[in-house]
């Protein structure tokens, strides 16, 4: 492990009971959902992780406990290093406190994760769908959501397919 990260991960292990994983030189820190805002604030304020590069989630369905991992990819410009925070969650809907107050970029990224995975970010200032239409049912990036397709329409079957096509009419 990078010795810049060693001290930080030790603090996270001691204060938050975090567990570590390493893969291809990257450090993944697992913390509990209720701790995530404190962990991110600490990393931003004390250890100069100024940039939340990415915020996403992974669905491990059919494994149910934990079903999801919420992933926070942090970058430090001053130290030129990266750290990944992972939050295992389950439940229906799974709930994670919002990180919007720590990093404002989390606003849109959390909306995207909520839209695609149905993970609820508690206290989010603007919990609307972001990519899918407002009236969409389901969360497309969940593993139990089938990959759909569009039927190609030709002259001979245009009306027939048009009738069962799911888009707004009138």
């Amino acid at each position: 492990m990078d010795n810049k990260l060693e001290k930080i991960t030790q603090v996270l292990q001691k204060d938050f009971g975090a567990t570590l994983e390493e893969f291809r030189g990257e450090v993944h820190v697992f913390v509990k959902a209720e701790q995530v805002v404190d962990v991110l604030s600490l990393l931003r304020d004390k250890y100069e992780f100024e940039l939340l590069s990415a915020l996403t989630a992974v669905d491990y369905w059919p494994q149910m406990s934990p079903r999801f991992n919420v992933v926070y990819q942090l970058s430090s410009l001053a130290k030129n290093t990266t750290l990944q925070i992972r939050v295992p969650v389950n439940g229906d809907p799974p709930k994670v406190p919002t990180a919007t107050r720590v990093y404002e970029v989390a606003n849109w990224r959390e909306r995207e994760v909520a839209d695609m995975f149905g993970i609820e970010f508690e206290g989010h200032p603007d919990p609307r769908r972001i990519l899918m239409p407002v009236d969409w049912e389901g969360h497309p990036l969940r593993k139990d959501y089938p990959l759909g397709y569009e039927e190609p329409q030709f002259t001979f079957n245009f009306d027939e397919i048009d009738l069962r096509k799911p888009y707004a009419k009138e």
Binding site: F23, R24, E26, H28, E50, L51, L52, S53, A54, T56, V58, D59, V71, Q73, S75, L77, N80, T82, Q84, Y103, E104, V105, N107, W108, R109, M116, P125, D126, R128, R129, I130, L131, M132, P133, V134, D135, E137, P140, L141, L147, P166, A168
Partner: protein, 409 residues
């Protein structure tokens, strides 16, 4: 399918000011079909006369489910989706994805392939900035710049076509190297471009940089300070125009960028004009990199010799049973990647293009997340346009360089 609900102001109540609810200010849609939104972007504007009170972006019109589709394809086949992501920076997207796959399966890339990758992505960076400059000028009513920029972009697209057979959706960079070696005309074509392009950049500058109308429209407009930019995850030229010297090519060099001598253009003003200057300077820096890479272009193989990941050359298939088996296995089943997740990022023309890739031991990615720079860059638009005029909004939106394919994925 649920009944489509009427969209009403209640959904936006928490986003607009009280005066919009009482009808004192006006809510107006800009887009999704509007020439100044650079694609299908809808901005919900709250206006007090000509002054913008709030600009709330509504995205998703171009959402095609690329992440979901990639999960259903093998590692090799999923690459074609990355071309369609940010259609101004196709080789750069290929590079980001291939680097992620190479990191996941631990695959080395030969030096010649690295140098060619650098040349192609830097050419593509110039092409992308040219489209940016052209559209930026167009939004400020400088029509001729657009035509000149597209004239030069065509030279680059011809070079890409010469290598891959495609002008835009090249898929030329592949996991483990590149598809095949570049043709013999490649070097002279790139050198020819390097010879004519510096003068053309000077010509654009002569048209724009000191033009008083241009300056009046840009200087001091849409100020973005470094702290706000980092809070909103803004990267790329927009961050560098705010005084933060952060370029992944310098900070975490990949593909041998550490061998090349180039500067990272930064400005401290953070306004629209600073973003313009940073883009112009990046033309010159990219040319420096291309020239150096071309001068030291080493000979040798252009893809990894590891047959478990890279298909064998056609000539071997007829004479070697193992090559035939490898070829068949790679194009039908694909190669397996270990269980684990990685995050790999490159500097695209718009900022940090990151790929989160997770393998589950099988031949298909378990999860791909594309951290696209335009998405985060756009999220700051409400902050920097508040209090400006509608005409300035157009200039600011053009200056942060968004590509809707990159935002909606």
């Amino acid at each position: 399918m649920a009944q489509l609900e009427e969209v009403n102001v209640d959904q936006f109540r928490h986003l607009v000011s009280e005066r919009a609810i009482s009808g004192e200010t006006m809510l107006l849609n800009m887009g999704p079909q509007h020439p100044s939104t650079h694609g299908v972007l809808r901005l919900l504007l709250e206006l007090d006369g000509e002054t913008v009170i709030n600009a709330i972006p509504d995205i998703g019109y171009l959402h095609t489910g690329i992440e979901k589709n990639m999960e259903a394809k093998t590692y090799i086949k999923a690459e074609v989706m990355t071309d369609r992501l940010d259609y101004m920076n196709t080789t750069g997207n290929n590079l980001a994805y291939c680097m992620a796959v190479e990191k996941l399966v631990d695959l080395d890339v030969p030096e010649r392939a690295q140098a060619i990758r650098v040349i192609l992505t830097e050419l593509q960076r110039i092409a992308s900035h040219l489209v940016w400059l052209g559209a930026f000028g167009l939004d400020l009513a400088a029509m001729s710049v657009f035509l000149y920029c597209f004239r030069e972009r065509e030279i680059i697209l011809d070079i890409l076509e010469m290598c891959s057979g495609q002008r835009m959706m090249t898929t030329f960079i592949r996991p483990g190297g590149i598809w095949r070696d570049v043709p013999v005309e490649f070097e002279s074509a790139v050198r020819n471009f390097l010879k004519i392009f510096p003068k053309r950049v000077d010509e654009y500058e002569a048209l724009l940089t000191k033009n008083p109308i241009f300056q009046d429209r840009l200087v001091g407009i849409g100020k973005l300070d470094a702290a706000t930019a980092l809070q909103h995850g803004v990267t790329g030229p927009s961050l560098r125009a705010s005084g933060v010297n952060w370029d992944l090519r310098k900070a975490r060099p990949y593909m041998g960028y550490e061998q090349y001598d180039f500067n990272v253009p930064t400005r401290t003003e953070g306004d629209t004009f600073a973003r313009y200057i940073v883009h112009i300077d990046e033309f010159r820096e990219s040319m420096k990199i291309i020239e150096q890479a071309l001068n030291r272009l080493p000979m040798g193989p252009v893809h990894s010799e590891n047959r478990k990941f890279v298909p064998p050359p056609r000539s071997e298939i007829g004479v070697s049973m193992e090559s035939l088996i490898h070829h068949f296995k790679l194009w039908t089943e694909g190669f397996p990647a270990p269980k684990g997740s990685i995050y790999s990022a490159v500097e695209s023309p718009r900022g940090e293009l990151g790929i989160y890739l997770e393998g589950d031991g099988g031949p298909k990615p378990y999860r791909v997340h594309l951290r696209t720079p335009s998405f985060d860059n756009l999220s700051v638009i409400n902050k920097i346009t508040q209090g400006t005029l509608v005409a300035d909004l157009v200039a600011i939106l053009a200056s942060i360089d968004i590509v809707l394919g990159d935002i909606d994925r």
